[in-house]
């Protein structure tokens, strides 16, 4: 069975890939909030990241302590191979559906 990706999970995975190498907690959250114009709670974000890590889509390492963070380290995330293929599969599924659907993407 293909691993199921939720909407928010997909969003987080793609954002991690987008802001890499600055993909740590605050960086990811700021990017999502700016891009989607929606406020997300820090607890929800970290829970999702934790789940994605459990599923093997993300890997992490620590580093990059700054005075801004009270000298505490950051935990950076990066997509694993499985993570990449998971988002790719989701994308191809969507593309396929788009191509056979009757909706024309609105052009700006």
């Amino acid at each position: 069975m293909k691993p199921y990706l939720g909407e928010f999970e997909e969003l987080v995975l793609l954002t991690v890939a987008a802001v890499f190498p600055e993909a740590y907690g605050v960086g990811i959250q700021k990017d999502i909030e700016k891009r989607c114009n929606r406020s997300i709670s820090i607890g929800a974000l970290h829970s999702t990241i934790t789940r994605l890590e459990e599923k093997g889509f993300l890997k992490s390492w620590t580093g990059g302590a700054t005075t801004e963070r009270g000298g505490r380290s950051k935990r950076f995330y990066e997509l694993t191979q499985a993570g990449k293929s998971a988002v790719t599969e989701t994308k191809s599924l969507r593309d396929e559906l788009w191509s056979i659907s009757k909706i024309k993407p609105a052009l700006k």
Partner: protein
């Protein structure tokens, strides 16, 4: 001011996270905080911080991180495997140091045994009356009488109050009136059987939950109805099928049996063998006012309606008491008492059935802890003292990565294991002393101390608690050890903790000393009382209860016996009991005087000494005319010399009696009471005892002869004869009980403190072998070394004696004079003697171990290093 993230929020978050790794999360929080401070206000930033902490605290992210930590190799969380490992290591440790383990287990077992008695007793007593279905709504009414300055609290209450409550108080469902029968003896063909009886209202059976076997509780509504318990029915009729039969009481009244019920459970405070209908009691002849102030043996139980408030009832009876007693000379107040608090509640007079004194319970509890706490302390003491031995083990464990918590649990497990083992020993002692314990208690016969699962569970909980109490101190001590010092064997065992331990050891010896001294004093008091010079001859005297035998016939029959030298009659036993009467001394004055009815032979048989006058005359008795008084009687009436008293006439019980003799003072009552005013009167109809002076021949033979003679007399009663000395002995049996209790507790306390000392001595002599070796090489003699090793302990015992002697002496003197008017004085010899016993016991404990070390060959000792 520097903008800082809210510290409280951070602390809470850290606390919630435990040992999970949340460094990056905290970093994120801080980063957001400073971001918000820049973009918004400080307040917004702080609010956001709090919100984020809240959101993270309940997030899956944190849960997962905490879970990850738990399965790391450095976790300190209990799993079955680790627990199993603890037990295994603990067992090996205990097995390796068998001697110490045995000492510890033995001490704890002794310490716990008495507490087990207490627990089982308490668990039984706390179940009293819990089987009644309506127990939550049943109350009894107690009364408090104000008499002069004295306030007396009774479990009784006037039945007029019951009628009022039933008629006027709205919240009441049912009221039961109970009268405890003064004496109720059932006549049967063979013999008369005393049976405990209550006169009760028919509601009795519906308010209380007792089981009927046959018949209808309504028989109690009719006059002369009776319900018998199963065991009484079987005792009387040998059958249960007795409904409709009649029983006759000793006073001639007959009752018809209308029902049979199960015996009431042991844990019922109501204690009876038959219930008789209340309507049988004739209307009180007392005036109404007197009925309100004089209500012996009357009890009231009230069943409230569902939802009624007990406070209302209390208010109601308060109102009645205020109204009723406003113009009566006696002041009485009432209070309600819940059914389940009767047995263990306040100490009231004239309880209806079983009553446990709360104060006695408290005392017992204190004694239990006096025995248990030293045992726990000894365990902790020996364990800590042996820290040196085990310091290498602990140091190594810590170096290998063992954290404090693990060491702590290891030692707690060890203690728990040893307490569970000693629980077995304690249980053994408990079973051995249980029967004896029950026989000492007044209400022991209704006591059920058999082991139930509930009780075993409680014992187990108790053992665990004891183990924790005894083990937590040494376990903390070991857990805190510094591994470097521990491995270098540089642990400091001398310091403030040493002083505490010394003080506690001294306390233990002081306790032991107290027990030894009380034992000596009480046994001396007992011997003193029994061998006391009562002022009359009581050896070789046999007292026989006459019961229904005519004195003259008795005398004729028994004077024929070879063993009997003389026979004299009296209304009571001299030195055991006497009755009281009032003597008119003036127009309005009267004094209370103790009296005994006796025949002329009595004074000579008992060898009482005349100071003046003569004995009662022997010839034909023509009604009461004379009295023989004692010295105190003269003193009370201001008569100076015995001669003056002769011929004086006093009015006693409506008769004018003339003094014909004056006797030297003697003890007509037990030694609890001072010698007071007393006289002998002569009236054959009052005679109840025959006092026979006998030759000192074989007692068994003599009693068989007497019994044979008794059987020829026209009576079916049993022969009740006893040596006078035995009767006196019995009057002082309280001392025997006291001696037994003090002796038993004393043996326990002494054993525990000696065990503790033995453990310490064995330990110190083991650790000081090297020192002893060097001392011997340098020329110390065996005596020097032995003294060196035992000096500390003897010193501690001396301190203990010094502290305990005045306190014990004070308490013992107070108790002695409190129990008995004529008592011994505590002497210096008692103190010295008990001090010697304690020292002797202590030295005996340490001498063997000390000499073993002192006589050892120094070459052998020093070579082992």
């Amino acid at each position: 001011m520097k903008n800082r993230p809210p510290r409280l929020a951070r602390r809470i978050f850290k606390l919630l996270s435990g040992s999970a790794d949340i460094d990056d999360l905290l970093g994120d929080l801080d980063e957001w905080f400073y971001h918000h401070v820049r973009t918004h206000s400080l307040l917004r930033a702080q609010l956001f911080y709090w919100k984020s902490v809240l959101s993270l605290s309940f997030s899956y992210a944190l849960t997962k991180r905490k879970r990850d930590v738990r399965i790391s190799p450095y976790s300190s969380v209990f799993t079955i495997d680790i627990f199993g490992n603890y037990i295994k290591v603990a067992w090996r440790n205990l097995y390796q140091h068998k001697y110490f383990s045995f000492l510890n287990a033995f001490g704890l077992a002794i310490g716990m045994s008495v507490s087990l008695l207490f627990i089982s007793l308490y668990s039984f007593v706390s179940t009293y009356d819990n089987f009644h279905v309506n127990k939550d709504r049943i109350y009894t009414i107690t009364s408090k009488q104000q008499r002069d300055v004295e306030e007396l609290e009774y479990s009784t209450a006037p039945h007029l109050l019951a009628d009022k409550i039933l008629a006027e108080f709205g919240g009441v469902n049912k009221v039961v009136r109970i009268v405890k029968a003064y004496e109720s003896t059932v006549k049967t063909e063979k013999e008369d059987l005393p049976a405990k009886a209550y006169y009760v209202d028919p509601e009795f059976m519906s308010v209380f939950s007792f089981d009927m076997i046959q018949g209808n509780p309504n028989v109690l509504a009719a006059a002369r109805g009776a319900i018998l318990t199963r065991s009484l029915a079987i005792k009387l009729f040998d059958s249960m099928d007795v409904i409709g039969e009649t029983i006759e009481l000793l006073d001639g009244r007959t009752f018809q049996i209308g029902g049979i019920m199960e015996d009431h459970p042991n844990n019922s405070h109501l204690s009876f063998e038959m219930l008789l209908s209340y309507s049988t009691i004739s209307e009180s002849k007392l005036r109404v006012e007197d009925q309100w102030s004089n209500y012996p043996k009357q009890y009231i139980y009230v069943l409230l309606k569902d939802g009624a408030i007990s406070g209302d009832l209390q208010n109601y009876i308060d109102g009645i008491a205020a109204r009723t007693y406003s113009n009566l000379p006696v002041k009485v107040t009432f209070s309600i008492q819940h059914l389940e608090s009767i047995v263990m509640g306040r100490d009231l007079r004239s309880a209806i059935g079983v009553k446990w004194e709360a104060s006695g319970f408290l005392l017992f509890g204190i004694f239990c802890s006096l025995i248990l706490l030293p045992a726990c302390f000894n365990y902790a003491n020996i364990s800590i003292a042996r820290a040196l031995r085990r310091s290498k083990e602990i140091g190594l464990r810590k170096t290998m990565g063992g954290v404090s918590k693990q060491i702590f649990f290891q030692f707690i497990t060890e203690t728990l294991l040893i307490t569970v083992v000693s629980l077995g020993g304690a249980l053994l002692i408990f079973i051995l002393i249980r029967a004896e314990f029950k026989s000492i208690l007044v209400a022991g016969s209704s006591l059920d101390l058999s082991l139930t699962w509930r009780m075993v569970g409680m014992f187990f909980m108790f053992a665990i608690t004891t183990g924790l109490a005894a083990g937590v101190f040494p376990a903390l001590h070991f857990a805190r050890l510094n591994p470097i010092q521990a491995l270098k064997s540089k642990i400091n065992t001398h310091g403030s903790s040493m002083r505490v331990r010394k003080v506690l050891t001294i306390c233990q010896f002081a306790l032991s000393f107290g027990f030894i001294l009380s034992l000596i004093v009480f046994s001396r008091q007992y011997r003193y009382s029994v061998n006391f010079d009562f002022g009359f001859e009581h050896s070789n005297t046999v007292a026989v209860h006459l019961q229904d035998v005519d004195p003259d016939r008795f005398k004729m029959a028994f004077t024929q016996l070879a063993a009997v030298k003389s026979v004299a009659f009296s209304s009571g036993l001299l030195g055991v009991h006497s009755s009281f009467t009032w003597v008119r001394t003036g127009a309005n004055d009267s004094i209370e005087v103790a009296q005994l009815f006796a025949d002329p032979n009595f004074i000579s048989t008992m060898n009482l000494q005349f100071l003046a006058g003569e004995n009662f005359r022997n010839e034909g008795w023509q009604g009461e005319r004379h009295i023989v008084v004692n010295e105190e009687f003269l003193k009370a009436n201001n008569i100076d010399t015995p001669i003056d008293a002769l011929g004086k006439i006093y009015r006693v019980d409506g008769k004018d009696l003339e003094i014909i003799g004056v006797l030297k003072n003697f003890h007509y009552m037990p030694l609890q009471y001072p010698v007071g005013k007393f006289f002998f009167r002569m009236k054959p109809s009052e005679f109840a005892y025959a006092n026979m002076r006998v030759t000192s021949m074989d007692a068994f033979d003599m009693f068989t002869q007497m019994e044979n003679e008794w059987k020829r007399l026209p009576t079916e009663k049993k022969f009740l004869g006893k040596y006078f000395d035995d009767e006196l002995d019995e009057a002082y049996s309280t001392y025997k009980v006291l001696l037994k209790i003090v002796g038993f507790l004393g043996v326990l306390a002494i054993t525990i403190s000696l065990l503790g000392m033995l453990g310490m001595v064995v330990y110190t002599s083991e650790t000081r072998t090297k020192e002893v070796g060097i001392r011997k090489v340098l020329g110390a003699t065996v005596t020097n070394v032995a003294l060196l090793l035992s000096r500390d302990y003897v010193k501690m015992m001396a301190w203990a004696i010094l502290f305990a002697a005045p306190i014990t002496a004070l308490i013992a003197n107070r108790i002695l004079s409190g129990i008995q008017y004529y008592s011994i004085e505590l002497s210096v010899f008692d103190v010295i003697f008990s001090a010697l016993i304690l020292l002797l016991l202590g030295i005996m404990t340490i001498v063997f171990q000390t000499f073993k070390i002192a006589t050892s060959n120094p070459a052998n000792i020093l070579r082992t290093e």
